[in-house]
Amino acid sequence: MASISELRKLNAELRLVNQTMRHDILNRLFFIGGIVGNYQKFGEKSMKLDEMLTEIRNMVKNSADFIQGMKEVEIDAVTSTPLHAINVRQIVEKMMVDFTDLSITISGSGVVLADQGVVSVVANLFQNIRVHASNSDVSVAISETNKTVKVAIADTGVGIPDTIKAQLFQYGHAFGVTGHTGIGLYVVKSMMDRYKGKVTIKDNHPHGTIFTLYFKKALL
C-alpha cells in the first residue's frame, strides 16, 4: 500500500499533468475557434483560407501530440513506471517542426533518463523564447559526461531581468495572493524534478538567456 507521502506526490504529479493539459489545450482550442469565427464573420479579410486551414491542421496535430505525450506522463506517474531512455536530440528535432518561426541550430546528442514529458519541457522553453526573444537566434547544445546529459538552450534576445529570474519557475501563487508568473516554466522545473535533474538560468553574452537542463544519463 502506498504511503501518505507517496500518495501526495502522486496527487501533485497528476495535478501538474491536468493543469498543463488544460492550459495548453484550451489556448489552442481558443485559437482554432477564434480564427474560424473571424473567418465566418469577416471572410478573407481576417485570414486567407489556405493559411487558416494550415494553421488549424498544425494546431490540431500539435495538440494531439501534446495530449499523447501528457498521457504517457500520467501513466508513468500512476504506475510508477521507471524512467527510461529518451534520445533528447530526437525530441528537440521533433519540436523544431512546431517552431519554424524560430531560427534554431542544434549540436551534439545524448540519451537521458526521462519520459515523454521531455516534449513538454522543450516545447515550453521554445515557447518562452518565441514570446520573449522571437527575433533571436536559438542554439541547442547537447553534451554529456559520465553520468549527466546537459542541454543548453540559448537565445540572443533581450534577456530576463534578475528580479523576474528569481520567481520564474513558480506557479503556486499564480492565481492567489501575489499572482506570480505563469505555468510553462513551472512545468519545466516540475518535470526536471521528476527526472531527478535540474534546470538553471543565466544571462547569455553579450545578450540573451541560457536555460540549461541537467538530466541523468541513461546507461545503455
Binding site: 475557434g33 469577416f42 520573449h132 501575489t178
Partner: protein, 126 residues
C-alpha cells in the same frame, strides 16, 4: 481612434483578438507580450483600454494591475482580464485586485459570449 493594448504571451491569441476587435469595433490594437513591456508601452502611448491575460510566463499580470491602480495617471484605464482558466480558479486574484471585467478565452468561442465581450469593449471605449 480608440487605442486598445492587448497583453498576452501567446502570439496566436493576438492574431485572433486583433482581427476581432479591429474588424468589429474599428479600434487600434497594439500588442505587448508581457507585463513589463505593457507598462513601458502605457507610459509612452495613449491607451484607452487594456485587455490582459492573467497567466503569462515570466510575467506578473496582477503586479501590472497594482502598478496602474497606484498611479494617478493610469488608474482610470479600464482593464479586461482574460484567461484560459475558469473564473473559479482565479476569482481570489480578481477580488483582491478589484478587477471588474473578466472573460474566459473559451467562452469567446460562444457567439453570445463573444458579443458580450465586444459590447463590453465598446462600452468601455465610450
Amino acid at each position: 481612434m480608440k487605442q486598445v493594448l492587448l497583453v498576452d504571451d501567446e502570439q496566436y491569441i493576438h492574431k485572433v483578438l486583433s482581427t476581432m476587435l479591429t474588424s468589429s469595433i474599428g479600434c487600434q490594437v497594439s500588442s505587448a507580450f508581457d507585463s513589463n513591456a505593457a507598462f513601458e508601452y502605457i507610459q509612452a502611448n495613449q491607451v484607452d483600454l487594456i485587455i490582459l491575460d492573467i497567466n503569462m510566463p515570466n510575467s506578473n499580470s496582477l503586479y501590472l494591475v497594482s502598478r496602474l491602480q497606484q498611479d494617478e495617471k493610469f488608474k482610470g484605464i479600464p482593464i479586461i482580464m482574460m484567461s484560459a482558466m475558469s473564473y473559479d480558479e482565479i476569482q481570489v486574484a480578481f477580488k483582491e485586485k478589484g478587477v471588474k471585467y473578466y472573460f474566459s478565452k473559451t467562452t469567446l468561442l460562444n457567439d453570445v459570449e463573444k458579443d458580450k465581450f465586444l459590447e463590453t469593449v465598446k462600452s468601455l471605449l465610450g
